[in-house]
């Protein structure tokens, strides 16, 4: 109970918000808009899983938004070039893995601080994309949207993929040696090394995984509309980091869970529609997102200080 206090309190806040909506804005629960809102969060969810892993190893990756955008445009161009969805997916995953590997190399093997490395790659990839695409949208081939299924079918598939991914990742993280190594490295890299774990390899792996997940997220985003917006990744890194932080993943590594990150994401994602339904203007979204991050980190700070005493 005490161990999952943070996850449970976020879940409780989420349930409270949902109850409020049920009382004051029952329209929120109409099936189609609700489903659309949920599927719109699936790409961010995939990024959040990656970010949570990166943060567990005591690193950060703020280039995921740029990676996401680049992968989305690449996959879109491949698709527009007449290739099927599998080829687009492979291209996106490959590009993501490559960009992740670059971050991983610089952070894990050259021991550079991840905040600065990913700051640099964030700018670099965003500008590469801008230079290359000049802000033009990519029109997708027909049959890509919703995987060629009906809208409902596509949305259910997306939900299935998202849910399965969280469950699988959470299971692997909890119950495999490799998953525990992620925690070990984030908790104390030197102790990990003395235990025969290779911290550089784990960190590198996590960054590559992050990039690959960014590629996957880009494709899961792409299938939801007939076009690719080259700016679709802007700001996503913040949303993902915010979700992980709110969900209780510690910034200094080693503590947190993927289920917590999921709860954090859902909480953040519910705030905006809740504002709309409760007649608060949507312009407040970013401010409230910032406030929620601050509240989460303040709560963590107070809790860890109380634990010390």
């Amino acid at each position: 109970m005490k161990r999952y206090f943070r996850e449970l309190s976020v879940a409780a806040a989420l349930v409270l918000l949902l109850l409020l909506l049920a009382l004051f804005a029952p329209h929120f629960y109409e099936l189609q808009p609700l489903l659309s809102r949920l599927t719109a969060q699936i790409p961010t969810l995939v990024l959040t899983l990656g970010i949570a892993l990166v943060m567990l190893t005591r690193q950060i990756d703020i280039s995921v938004g740029s990676q996401f955008g680049l992968c989305a445009v690449l996959a879109g161009l491949v698709s527009a070039g007449g290739h099927g969805l599998p080829v687009s997916l492979a291209a996106a995953l490959g590009a993501g893995a490559f960009m992740g590997a670059l971050n991983g190399c610089l952070v894990a093997w050259m021991r550079l601080p991840s905040i600065v490395v990913t700051l640099a790659t964030m700018v670099t990839w965003a500008e590469v994309l801008r230079l290359f695409q000049q802000g033009k949208f990519v029109n997708l081939a027909p049959g890509v949207q919703w995987f060629g299924l009906s809208q409902l079918g596509g949305q259910l598939t997306l939900l299935g993929v998202g849910g399965a991914l969280v469950a699988l990742a959470a299971y692997l993280l909890k119950n495999t040696s490799g998953g525990r190594h992620v925690y070990a490295v984030g908790s104390d890299a030197e102790a990990a090394r003395l235990s025969g774990i290779n911290p550089s390899a784990v960190t590198f792996g996590v960054f590559v995984l992050m990039g690959t997940l960014a590629g996957l997220a880009a494709v899961l985003n792409l299938v939801q509309s007939p076009q690719v917006d080259p700016k679709c990744g802007t700001g996503l890194e913040l949303k993902a980091i915010a979700a992980a932080v709110v969900g209780g993943v510690a910034v200094n590594g080693g503590r947190g869970s993927l289920w917590g990150a999921l709860a954090g994401l859902l909480l953040l994602a519910t705030i905006n529609p809740a504002l709309t339904f409760l007649h608060v203007e949507a312009y407040w979204e970013k401010a409230i997102q910032g406030l929620v991050i601050l509240l989460a980190v303040i709560a963590d700070g107070i809790r860890s200080r109380r634990n010390l005493n």
Binding site: N175, T176, S177, R180, Y183, A184, S187, L194, G196
Partner: protein
């Protein structure tokens, strides 16, 4: 003759221009406790890292179980049956005790399944074997230092290692835990394993070790049997010390000074819940060294932290030169004329990358730099003055603290507080981890300071040091002050029994 577990011959290792090991030879036999002894910087830590595969030697041969090994890695060393208990527990603070033990022992393949129940059972068994009463599910973060050390020991035991290296394992242990540890060491010896035992405490070496190898300046100087076949002592403490320092140490402790003056510090019923201390009453006079003895965890460092304002007192009276004062922050302590040479030199005492002059001036910024503008000449002069006065071995005031040996770092830490011209100086284990030569120099400095009228409160875990240095000795136990002795009436026996006696 039996096959040795370990044989090192002429091992060399350099870091850049520094030659840490210049040819070390060393053998460990099954069923032997082999002590490794040497001043700080003699190369012990580097040697351990070579044996555990954390460092690759530049030259020489390393044989494990009779076969020459090259390119040893920590993983491989562990597979070859080498386990190490580090001075600073190398554990994962966020993870539970059982997971810590599991991670250390399993080293499974990447997708290997984790058997949580098995891990728990295993941890329970190992902790029971060393007699530690710990819940395997508690996160290591919430354990005390000695408890963490026990987890380390459980890891080493659980690995079934034939070679166990212990790097100053008793540095943070209480008496009871020390006894547990000694039991474990004797068990290991009886089971045919070999133990490499590193300690600064000579009495431990005489109690435990079969043989001693002395390292000096990165070379193995001599290997001697501690006892003969019949069990008679073959080695004396003086012999060992002179092997370590390469010269005879004349008199270990300087003579006591004259009579003490006015009362500088007076405590009445000082309590601090955060530090776990209660009802402390004591007095320190000018020109006097008050030794503060007790086991680790008895609340001595916590009392020092209260006096220095790091964890301020909740209640009680602190009187400085007869005036009631409140110490709510280190800045306030400094302005009241209190200096504190902390226990953890490398983390708190000296900022290692900064030049020693900057380290020394740090507590006197307002005095040395009025108007907040730096005056580099004044700072340099301060540095040169203390290098001279305390005999600090460094190439100049601009040498970074990290480039100095432990003893010289401690002198820098001391200089920082002497620069403030304090009325009260608190020393927290001032010679812990300091080599024998520097130790006696530091003792002489402390004695001189007291002779000049400084009030000194000296915490020490080294019983001979407390007895040899103090004018009076106060003993703490469980966060309380339990007894005070005049220097002349104190004996090791009486101080120890006061520190140990169950209340």
């Amino acid at each position: 003759m039996r096959q040795p577990l370990l044989r090192l011959s002429q091992i060399t290792k350099s870091f850049g221009a520094v030659r840490a090991l210049k040819g070390v030879s060393f053998e460990l036999h099954p069923g032997e406790v082999h002590a490794l002894l040497g001043e700080n910087g003699a190369g012990k830590s580097t040697l351990i890292k070579v044996i555990t595969g954390a460092h690759q030697p530049d030259g020489g041969t390393l044989e494990i179980g009779g076969t020459t090994v090259s390119n040893l890695t920590p993983t491989r060393a562990r597979k070859l049956g080498i386990a190490c208990i580090y001075q600073q527990p190398a554990l994962f603070p966020d993870l539970s005790v059982s997971e810590n033990i599991g991670l250390r022992l399993e080293g499974g393949a990447f997708f290997a399944k984790v058997h949580w129940k098995q891990r728990r059972k295993n941890a329970d068994a190992l902790l029971a074997r060393i007699g530690a009463a710990l819940d395997p599910e508690t996160p290591v973060r919430s354990l005390s230092m000695p408890e963490q050390q026990l987890v380390e020991i459980a890891c080493a035991l659980g690995s079934g290692a034939k070679t166990v290296i212990m790097d100053e394992p008793t540095a943070s242990l209480t008496q009871v835990e020390q006894e547990l540890l000694f039991g474990v060491v004797r068990d290991l010896r009886a089971s045919g394993a070999g133990v490499v035992y590193i300690s600064h405490r000579l009495e431990e070496i005489f109690a435990l070790a079969d043989r001693v190898t002395v390292l000096r300046d990165g070379q193995s100087i001599s290997t001697r049997a501690v006892r003969s076949e019949l069990g008679a002592m073959e080695l004396t403490e003086e012999e060992l010390i002179s092997l370590m320092v390469g010269r005879e140490v004349a008199s270990i402790y300087p003579h006591r000074g004259g009579s003490p003056g006015e009362t500088v510090l007076e405590l009445e019923n000082v309590c601090c819940a955060a530090g776990g201390i209660a009802n402390i009453s004591l007095a320190v006079r000018a020109g006097e060294i008050l030794g503060l003895a007790g086991l680790v965890g008895a609340g001595r460092t916590e009392l020092a932290r209260v006096l220095f304002g790091i964890t301020p007192a909740d209640s009680g009276t602190i009187r400085l030169l007869g005036r009631n004062v409140q110490v709510r922050s280190p800045q306030q302590a400094v302005s009241l004329g209190i200096g504190y040479v902390p226990e953890d030199r490398r983390r708190h005492g000296v900022i290692l990358p900064m030049p020693i002059a900057e380290n020394m001036s740090m507590a006197v910024h307002p005095k040395l730099f009025p108007g907040k503008w730096l005056r580099f000449e004044a700072e340099r002069a301060l540095g040169l003055r203390f290098i001279e006065e305390l005999g600090i071995k460094a190439y100049g005031p601009e040498a970074p603290g990290g480039s100095l040996s432990g003893g010289n770092q401690q002198k820098v830490s001391l200089a920082r507080w002497l620069a403030t011209e304090p009325r009260l100086l608190i020393l927290d284990d001032p010679t812990q981890g300091v080599d024998v030569g520097a130790k006696s120099e530091i003792h002489r400095i402390i004695r001189d300071l007291a002779a000049k009228g400084l009030a000194v409160l000296m915490i020490s875990s080294d019983l001979p040091e407390v007895l040899g240095m103090s004018d009076r000795i106060a003993v703490m136990r469980g966060g309380r002050l339990v007894e005070t002795f005049e220097g002349s009436t104190a004996t090791a026996q009486r101080v120890m029994s006061a520190a140990l006696r169950p209340s």
